[in-house]
Chain length 351, copies 2
Amino acid sequence: MAQQLNPKEHKMVILAEGSFGILESKAATVLVRYHTENVVAVIDSEQAGKDVSEIIEIGEGIPVLSSLAEAMELNPTMLAIGIAPPGGELPEPWIAILKEAIGHGLHVMSGLHWFLSDDPQLADLAERHNVTLWDVRKPPADLPIATCKADEVDQTVILTVGSDCRIGKMVTAIELAETARNRGVDAEFCATGQNGIMISGWGIAIDAVVSDFTAGASEEIVLEGATKACDLLIVEGQGSLVHPGYSGVTLSLLHGSMPDAIIFCHQPSRKIVARYTVPLPPVPELIRQYEMLVNPIKPAKVIGIGLNCFDLTEEEALQAVEDTERETGLPATDVIRFGADKLVDAIEKVN
Amino acid sequence: MAQQLNPKEHKMVILAEGSFGILESKAATVLVRYHTENVVAVIDSEQAGKDVSEIIEIGEGIPVLSSLAEAMELNPTMLAIGIAPPGGELPEPWIAILKEAIGHGLHVMSGLHWFLSDDPQLADLAERHNVTLWDVRKPPADLPIATCKADEVDQTVILTVGSDCRIGKMVTAIELAETARNRGVDAEFCATGQNGIMISGWGIAIDAVVSDFTAGASEEIVLEGATKACDLLIVEGQGSLVHPGYSGVTLSLLHGSMPDAIIFCHQPSRKIVARYTVPLPPVPELIRQYEMLVNPIKPAKVIGIGLNCFDLTEEEALQAVEDTERETGLPATDVIRFGADKLVDAIEKVN
């Protein structure tokens, strides 16, 4: 889990060729959101000439450029891949851009399933130009089977969970850590997925780990987090207990990270699991599922709700918060719209 | 998932050097139990001269021999690795035995984490002698993310689940399939772990699959099973929902295989998760957990209980069956001691 590159120490150009947008390039969007100062440009020839904020609402002043050659004038030190190719294979034109970047001495950060460092051509080129190819999803070797050691850390451990994928578990975790830090709490965001790792500069993409070792990897993340912050660890959740494909990852993380308390994340407008036909159970039932499952290993309660209201009006969002609080008896907020203070208040009450 | 070797077509010598025993060599024991006719000898120089049945109670007439050279007189066609080395690395003396076997033209079947076919020396030797190195735990390439397709098969799908590892989920599944077949039902045992695969000759060791694809692998197993039997698929369970290390594997299988009904397995004498300090919740609570989790994806009920009473007297075992039936309101049996008929009766009532 050794940090290979610290994104905060680099000037980054983000590759989002042909697909830059809020839904199309999640990695690009979160890098702009959380490393605004470090992003010098986004490459997407189809939208060249625009400002990043015209496309994803954030990142004002960052240009969208048509090529790496143009971006080189801004003196970047790293290329970050901000898109996922359909099917997983890297398109030939992107490979050409990667080679060009390596040739210019740029490090490369990638969250793709397909590992750049396993490609002999790219690996060889990187070695010759003395740059790092950081495949953030590549799991460390020799992960253990979980041993319940995460329970022994002194820090309060909070895990974000949710009703589905892409519902705000990562963003909620980051905002919780930041809000806590602003209050003087020594808090660390613990990344468990590729985008989170690109933000924090460390972590393990647990969905890329062989399933026997996924809970063990979650445990390792908490143990590593404990070396980085004294007071509070906010662990990024993955998937959902009702997700037909990823529920196993979710449960491995729940049991491996051994949280002291849980923040539940949900998008009020979402009624079925995305890309499936599975209806989402009511929030109180989902909360019961998480609590019931964590109970035999280490009892922990859901203490607050993070709502993702990006597709609601201000009035609808306020109503959703009120409805959720009434329905669950727990504090709720949209951390992007209304801040994370309510949830950090709840976390501060955990022993 | 293509079958690489069919154990039923081979004369097998089992390597259990230094460790042959019920608890020490699970693979050897189940191979003797389910391929009795195909096992010509077990190698364990420390117990050479004994009959297999003196050590593991089954396999009368099969000799324990001190070396492969001795076993070669019985004309084996395959060497099966019946033990797991501590730490995962293959001891040097075992490698020498493997090389000797390959040199004699024996195929090799291995359920180890460490893949024989990835070892250049062994792979080269196998190629030269035209034998197959079958690493049963090696996952197939290009596994999908689960898509809920397992729900579409015409067969009744039954999954065995349990309170812990090594509690009888595999044996119960095999006995259910066999008992159903004896009643004229066209049933297939669907293996999800290395020992099960060595018995049935096909399947995927789902705990060796990257966690994103574990439910998808479970789905593939059901779809493959549907090509093999017309009426009934009995899927082997893995782990437990309260196992700190393997619960993710368990949930991936539960959601990926989409069973129509569930058989719950338990060892009445076991009070905590083996190798952990986690107390096992009462059986009715565990049953509620499984049903609650499966419900949002595809409702299925636990319809019977398989008890593993190997460490109880006959009287204690009968008492355990009676207690469990009263406590849960479900039919219970020890399939090895009292047969699987009660549970097959329950399965026949599933539409």
